[in-house]
Symmetry: C2
Subunit: 235 residues, 2 copies
DNA sequence: AAAGTACAACCTGTACACAGCTGAACTTTT
DNA sequence: AAAAGTTCAGCTGTGTACAGGTTGTACTTT
């Protein structure tokens, strides 16, 4: 059943190229990260032809990526105008955070995963990175990447695939909005809050208490929302 | 600011055509409903060119619709093969139902909507339709449409936009799988279960108790999962 | 007769040209 | 000078041809 031509194509692909699906995922992840890490802040206008030139492809695969980003709620495609990185209104922001708190608690209740030594080691690494950051003020991108990595670890601990899916969806949707407010908060304050969350989660994980992990996460989201609520005023 | 040419185009559009966005939504809703109502049962292979011919457009807009359906989890696009209506494995099915129960309860807790006379009237209509169905056995599509309409009403009662969004997502993702089992269940049984849910929800709505609505819905999902669990055996 | 191979018919993925839309700068009119 | 009208550059939407992938089938070889 294996054809020679196919075998050759697969070998060549393994050496140099990448399959179409891989290319799509690569470009998608790249643009998503740029939006989430505020390389493209809300309001940025993205052009299909510009992106196509940068990635060395035609508009067609770029359009596919942008449409997926639109489904994810990260951009809005407007005919004749361009593809605009979305902002989020105050009401939706708060609703999303309320929901994220509930979902974090469910993380510990619906088919929680078993916690291994490896998970603990990963958390310890994050704690070490966060402690280093205490001495270097205003490294917002590093702070954001620790938050991103924590999210990935918690994702791997969520046994329920559907739950994991929507937790990630809403994380990506509001994280970048939250990062917008970072410079307005005190550096020492947010770093110590991050260390508090990490150590609480680590303690719960050490006793294989996924419900405790979920509660810690939910509580952290609540504290963070409180922290920036004074900046969230209706116009 | 209004140009003559634009004005003409808008008038012409109002009479005959439709804007691009409307066309997309129309085709998307049509294909989604066909999948959910089992016109395209799981495993069906959809061809872009065939669909393009049917809707009188080129492959491009059809591809956009299919990619959105893939994002919703209703189809899987495979290069060289076709676009296949997805089935769902047992584990994911149960996980999705567990999550849906929790989300139904959240519906009553996160910014619940105020219930009007109009909502009650809509539920009464559904009850009337369900009672008529008691006499006509095995009208599975009518049964499914009542379920669909109830979902729409509950959706309009969910104040939190993000919550509403994912409740709908998971409804569309598993409803059609559930409908697959309908013929294996007793008609009288499922109709009476539907009437039970409708009357419980109506009672809660009559006293403006959205938490009660959520609990009724959650309980109904639990009962239904129990009902078909004897058919859900590992291969 | 059975296994392996080449191929044809189908599919989706990509590139590109063109049509339609939008907003802003510019020109004309009052 | 203000307001209305016009033009235009740039954008996304669409159609279409072609490239690449997959699978079943007919054919060849052992």
């Amino acid at each position: 059943m294996i054809k020679l031509a196919e075998s050759d194509a697969q070998r060549a692909r393994a050496q140099n190229d990448e399959t179409g699906s891989q290319r799509f995922e690569r470009i998608y992840a790249e643009l998503r990260d740029r939006i989430c890490l505020l390389v493209y802040p809300p309001g940025t206008v993205l052009s299909e032809v510009t992106l196509a030139r940068e990635f060395g492809v035609s508009r067609t695969p770029i359009r596919r990526v942008l449409h997926r980003l639109e489904f994810m709620g990260l951009v809005q495609i407007m005919n004749g105008v361009g593809t605009i990185v979305t902002d989020i209104d105050l009401k939706t922001f708060k609703e999303t955070y309320d929901l994220r708190m509930r979902l974090a608690e469910l993380m510990g209740e619906l088919s929680p995963a078993y916690i291994t030594e490896d998970h603990l080691a990963q958390i310890d690494q994050l704690i070490a990175r966060a402690k280093k950051l205490q001495k270097h003020r205003d490294r917002f991108e590093d702070y954001a990447m620790i938050t991103n990595d924590l999210q990935k670890i918690l994702s791997s601990l969520t046994g329920s695939a559907p739950l994991r899916e929507i937790i990630e969806l809403f994380y990506f949707r509001v994280a970048r909005i939250w990062f917008t407010f970072l410079p307005q908060l005190g550096w020492d304050d947010i770093i110590s809050a991050q260390l508090t969350e990490l150590s609480e989660i680590r303690a719960a994980m050490a006793s294989n208490d996924m419900r405790g992990v979920g509660r810690s996460r939910s509580l952290h989201l609540h504290r963070m929302l409180t922290r920036i609520s004074r900046f969230l005023v209706e116009p």
